[in-house]
């Protein structure tokens, strides 16, 4: 990075640290924070869309659709999210390859599952084994985004389902009295009004999403946890110009502080939004800053 870093053996103290913290691998570590932020920025709206779909399905009048929506919410909430992450990464990959296999190689006569192997024709591989390294990484990232959205979509569906039901009955009754159809009531009355009821749940969900982001590591993405383990472990002089002992503890302390700052800032911003939205509304949030049990904010003021 810097010209003075050319010969690390001669460095000491602060200049050594400056050079150490700007090695190529450390730059990759800093970029990994960007990956995490990108994941959060992409996942949040997608999960919200999934949640909206799930909530609409759950309150549908068509019984099978309603079962599907409620089942989606119940199953994802009843099972540890990490199990879903581990499951979907393989299941989605195999599902996509299976579909491509069916489309691209119709005259393949061998079974796809042979004992402990999953075999599809070479053209159906996803991504193709000939494609560049970055294609593999981008594909892995999108699988992770989709998995996150699927899991957190169920949580969002639960929140939105509750919020839709929290819109006062008198409001929908009035709309019905004006002769609106069910779809119109939903579009013109329920959806505009539900957000203020959904916001406490959604901001909680955002916090949970932030705190779930290090699980990217389990999905095989080279994220901050991967780099913290990699960079912190003991380095001997044979392999690096910057030998050091086991520093993983300090790297993870740094991650801990990063997340504490991130959740704290989110909390402050969400609090502001909530206060603005409930301004002048006769809800609990408007005249009392802390919500019902379990919703009050943590941390030193």
């Amino acid at each position: 990075m810097f010209a003075s870093c050319a010969d690390p053996e001669t460095l000491s103290g602060l200049s050594w640290l400056t050079c150490y913290l700007t090695t190529g691998k450390h730059i990759a570590f800093y970029w990994a924070f960007g990956t995490v932020l990108l994941l959060l920025a992409v996942t949040a709206p997608v999960a919200l869309a999934f949640g909206f779909g799930g909530a609409m399905a759950a309150r549908s009048r068509i019984a099978p659709l309603s079962w599907l929506g409620k089942g989606y919410i119940a199953v994802v909430r009843g099972v540890p999210d990490i199990a879903f992450f581990l499951f979907f990464v393989i299941a989605l990959d195999q599902g996509i390859e299976w579909l491509r296999h069916k489309a691209k190689c119709p005259d393949w006569d061998q079974p796809i599952r042979q004992g402990n192997d999953f075999i599809v024709c070479a053209e159906a591989k996803m991504p193709l084994s000939s494609s560049a390294q970055w294609v593999h990484e981008v594909y892995g990232f999108w699988l992770a985004v989709f998995t996150f959205a699927l899991v957190f979509g169920a949580f969002a569906a639960n929140v939105l389902f509750g919020a839709m039901r929290a819109v006062p009955r008198a409001q929908t009754e009035t709309a019905e009295a004006y002769g609106m159809s069910r779809a119109q009531v939903f579009r013109r009355v329920i959806v505009p009004q539900m957000w203020v009821y959904a916001l406490p749940g959604l901001s909680n969900l955002w916090m949970v999403l932030i705190k779930a982001s290090p699980l990217l590591f389990l999905l095989g993405v080279e994220d901050i946890v991967y780099w913290a383990r990699e960079l912190g472990s003991t380095k001997t002089p044979q392999f690096t110009a910057y030998p050091h002992g086991d520093w993983r503890m300090w790297y993870f302390l740094f991650l801990l502080v990063f997340y504490l700052g991130f959740t704290r800032i989110s909390e402050i911003v969400l609090d502001r939004i909530m206060r603005r939205l409930t301004h002048g509304q006769a809800t609990l949030g408007s005249h009392k800053r802390t919500g019902p049990v379990g919703m009050s904010k943590a941390g030193p003021p």
């Binding site: 199990a83 913290a228 379990g294």
Partner: protein, 268 residues
């Protein structure tokens, strides 16, 4: 090999009893059910230990956060902030490497680097912080009238807290606390994926499920089995907590809600 023999061989495998080698080929459905079920012992152990010990600390944290003296309030606020504001996954990693370097200096810390104690300690502090925040919220919403009535009866200090404030706090907090208990049991699956080693392949349910998924390259069998076990565990937790909640509310004319109602309190 019959399923009964598999049960004998692998039923307590997660604790280190029975067959030493895990199955390597020709995986049967029975093996997957038995081994993953055997791993559930660890999930239940971590969950119960953290929940029972965390309950006491959570009460202390809630009372501390509500205290007027900054000597009690500040530490309680910081513990709650640190453990609620950062991911449990990172806490596990940090704690494991912290214990590892402590062990390098003082051998007495050896036990902390193994999951049964180290991970249980992290889970204990984590759930205490989350439940402490729940209890604090409930403590703040104890009706003023009840406290005034206690004053009128001449109760004060410890007697007032134990006989009036604390029972009402628990009653108010119980639905949210039930959720916390459920998520705590789910969080126990993180232990063996976050630094803490599974010595001699003695792992929890998810450890064995991912073992099978890796070996068979077929996630569609082990993970649904795991999901089934966890749904059952969740139902048991809801039932037990519901019974306790009913007992807490037994003097009230119309039983107060035993299930979580608000949507802000649904998850950690």
């Amino acid at each position: 090999m019959s399923c009964y023999e598999t049960l004998m061989d692998y039923g307590l495998r997660s604790l280190g009893y029975g067959e030493r080698l895990l199955p390597r080929s020709d995986f049967t459905l029975c093996q997957q059910f038995v081994l993953i079920g055997s791993g559930m012992i660890w999930n239940i152990y971590f969950g119960l230990v953290a929940l029972l010990s965390g309950f006491a600390l959570a009460t202390a944290l809630a009372v501390g956060k509500a205290a007027s003296s900054p000597w009690f309030r500040k530490p309680a606020e910081w513990v709650i902030f640190i453990f609620r504001g950062s991911p449990l996954f990172i806490q596990f990693f940090f704690a494991y490497f912290l214990f590892l370097s402590l062990k390098g200096q003082v051998p007495a810390f050896d036990a902390l680097t193994s999951a049964w104690l180290g991970a249980a300690l992290v889970l204990f502090l984590n759930t205490a912080a989350y439940s402490g925040e729940i209890f604090y919220g409930a403590l703040m919403s104890v009706p003023r009238g009840e406290v005034e009535a206690a004053d009128a009866y001449g109760l004060s200090g410890w007697a007032k807290f134990r006989r009036v404030v604390w029972p009402t706090t628990l009653r108010l907090a119980w639905p949210a606390y039930t959720n916390e208990a459920i998520f705590l049991f789910h969080a126990t699956t993180l232990v063996f994926f976050s630094g803490f080693p599974a010595s001699r392949q003695k792992g929890d349910a998810l450890y064995y499920a991912s073992y099978f998924a890796d070996k068979t390259f077929n996630p569609f069998v082990p993970y649904p089995i795991l999901a089934g076990y966890f749904v059952l565990l969740t139902l048991v937790v809801i039932a037990v907590m519901g019974l306790i909640g009913k007992r807490l509310n037994r003097h009230l004319p119309n039983a107060a809600p035993t299930r979580a109602k608000g949507f802000g309190m649904l998850m950690r």
